[in-house]
Structures are given as C-alpha cells and as structure tokens.
C-alpha cells in the first residue's frame, strides 16, 4: 500500500495517470450539473416563505460546503506534506487554494443576494457571516504567502503552517449558528435531521456532487501544470515538451 502511494505520488506517474482520470471527473460534473439545474429550476417547489428566492440556495449551500471541504483537503495535504515530505501533497494544497477561495466568494455573494430581499440587509456581522469571511481571508493569506517566497520549498512549508492554524476556523463556521445567536439560520441538513422538502434536498445534493467533481477535475488540471513547472529540469518533462516521447 505504502509503496503504491509513493509510486502514484511520484510527479511523473501522477502526470500520466491524472490525464486519464480527468475526463472521468468532467463527464459526471456536466451530467450532474444538468440534472441538478433541472431539479433546482423545474422539479423542486417554491418555498412557503421565500417563494422562488429559495432557488439561490442550490448554489449557495453547495458552494459554502465546498469552501469548507476544500480547506480541509488543503489542511490534510499540507499536514502530509510537512510530515511525510511528499511533494505532490504540497502541490495539491497549493493548486486547491484559488478554487477554494472562488467557492467561498461565491457562497458569500449568493448569500448576500439572498439576504437583501429575505432578511432586509446585504450583510451583517453575525458569527456565521464573519467566520466565513475570515475563511476567505485565510485562503487569500495562504495564496499570498505561497507567492511571497522565491523558493517553492520554503513557500510550501510556510503556507502549510498557515493553513493548519486556520483549520480551527472550520468547526467555528459550522457550529457558529448553534453556539451564538445569529441572523443566519441554523443548519437544515445535519447528520440526524433534514428539515427540507425531498426534491429541494435532491437538487441540493446533485449540485453539491457536481461541485465536488468540478473541484477534483480543476484541481488535477492545475496540479498537472504545477508538476510541469516544478519538474521542468527533469528529463521526462523535457521529453514531453519537445515531443520526443510521442
């Protein structure tokens, strides 16, 4: 098992295998998005309070979940990078950051657009909104710190520490609506209870899985580029660039 992981984690093997995986991620993404959009706009009903505005949720909630999910992936791979010094783990963390930041931004913006007509305000400084904004800043801090070093090894280590420190914000975001009084509503979906009509939940899940596939595909594409840049002096990369291989 350990040997197999190390073999896959070698930049060259990763580059070759990931090329074959990406289409298998893109196809489910497109299929799930199309079904998900159909479910969000046609199948799922309007809400008894919000009317059609409820449909913003089908982007907002999956994007917010992704913002947490990607951050956890980054923290785990940064930890693996620090402990086992696997180059590929650092690469996964680095290339995930802009994708995670984008999903966080999307969650904040869609939430704001929903908040104006529903709550009556674009933004408030309650615990949920503030902690999610801090998450965006953590992503941006990671990205800028990673770019601040010329040596990628130093950059990887320094930014790995930042991302692991910031991990503490994830449970705060998740539980903020339970721990404090907030304007943001509590979770409709928890491990024990779903307080949402079935078709709404299905639409939410479809988009959510579509986003997971999209992230995986984008992450692998970006990781392949990063591998090429970092391994530019190795022979196998030169063979690819000059076309000697094919």
């Amino acid at each position: 098992m350990w040997k197999w992981i190390q073999a896959f984690a070698s930049p060259r093997n990763f580059y070759q295998i990931s090329e074959k995986i990406i289409p298998w991620l893109m196809v489910p993404f497109i299929v799930l998005s199309l079904i998900g959009l159909y479910w969000s706009f046609v199948v799922s009903p309007t809400d008894y309070q919000q009317g059609d505005s409820v449909r913003i949720m089908y982007v907002h909630v999956p994007a917010a979940w992704m913002s947490l999910f990607i951050y956890i992936i980054m923290a785990i791979s940064s930890g693996i990078g620090l402990i086992w010094q696997i180059k590929l783990a650092y690469i996964v963390a680095k290339v995930s950051a802009p994708i995670g930041a984008s999903f966080t931004f999307l969650a904040l913006v869609t939430g704001s657009i929903w908040g104006k007509p529903m709550w009556g305000t674009w933004w408030v400084w309650d615990a949920r909104l503030t902690s999610e904004l801090i998450l965006l800043f953590l992503y941006l801090a990671y990205i800028s710190l990673n770019n601040a070093f010329d040596n990628p090894k130093t950059a990887d280590k320094a930014s790995a520490v930042i991302v692991i420190i910031g991990l503490v914000n994830i449970p705060i975001i998740y539980y903020s609506v339970d721990w404090w009084n907030s304007l943001h509503q509590g979770s409709s979906i928890s491990f024990t209870k779903i307080s949402m009509q079935q078709d709404m939940f299905i639409a939410l899940l479809l988009i959510s899985f579509a986003f997971k596939f999209l992230y995986s595909a984008l992450m692998l594409m970006r990781a392949r580029n990063e591998v090429l840049v970092r391994e530019q002096n190795s022979r196998w990369v030169r063979e690819i660039i000059t076309g000697a291989d094919k």
Binding site: D47, Q49, Q50, L82, I83, G120, I164
Partner: protein
C-alpha cells in the same frame, strides 16, 4: 524519535496549540459574539439598556399593527415579551409567528427600532406542505 515522528509531533502541537488558543479566545469573547439579545436576556438586564442594541425573537400572532409606515408589534422568546415600534419598510419575510432581529433602544419600556431584519428558520417546504401542517395544528 525518528525525524518523521518529530515532525508529526510538531504538526500535532501546532493543531492542539491553535485549538487551545482559539478556545480561550472564544471563552473570553463569550456572549459578546451573539448577534442579538433575547427578550429574556434583556429582562434579566444583560443587554446594554440605554445604548443601542439588538433584540431578537418571534413576532407574536395578532400583535402586528400598522399605520402608514409606522408599525408596532410584540416580540417574544416564549418567556418574556417586548413591544417594538418601528417606522420604515419591513423586509419580505416579516410575518407574525416568524423571527425578527430589531436594532434600537428601550424608551420607557418600549423598544424603538431603527432597523428590522427578518430571520429565516431552517425549515424549507412548499406552500402546500406548510398549509397542511397549519391545518393539522388547528
């Protein structure tokens, strides 16, 4: 300890240290991170009466009255209640029986609000289901 175990311990220390620091910070912050006070908290004197603060709760059924832009309603947490006075446009989700968060101050026992926000709960359902639930209750 091997080098790898050493690094593992350092990463663990980093995680534990951060969690400890933030937990202490949140403890110190305590209820200051609450976005609003419940009517009970205000009745117990926990809210900064005399200054502006936020009061949140459910709008009591049948308490809402409006004359032009001036509206009055009662807010409760099922233990204590306060009367609210507000002049302005109410948000779409404002309804009797639903949650609101109001900003303002207490003037002679009446909460004079400068802003009213509607709070949404975690229940999402189509109108038919809501109607059925309402009928079942009655």
């Amino acid at each position: 300890m091997t080098k790898r175990q050493n690094r593992m311990a350092l990463v663990l220390l980093l995680v534990v240290g951060t969690i400890l620091a933030i937990t202490l910070l949140l403890q110190a912050l305590g209820s200051n991170a609450n976005y609003f006070y419940s009517p009970t908290a205000v009745a117990q004197g926990k809210a900064p009466v005399g200054k502006n603060f936020r009061l949140g709760g459910l709008v009591i059924n049948g308490s809402f009255k409006r004359k032009d832009l001036k509206s009055t309603f009662d807010v409760t947490d099922n233990k204590n209640k306060f009367s609210i006075e507000y002049t302005g446009i109410l948000p779409d989700l404002f309804r009797e029986g639903q949650g609101v968060i109001t900003t303002g101050s207490l003037v002679n026992g009446v909460f004079v609000a400068t802003e009213v926000l509607a709070k949404h709960d975690e229940n999402y359902m189509p109108p038919e289901v809501a109607d059925a639930l309402k009928k079942a209750k009655e």
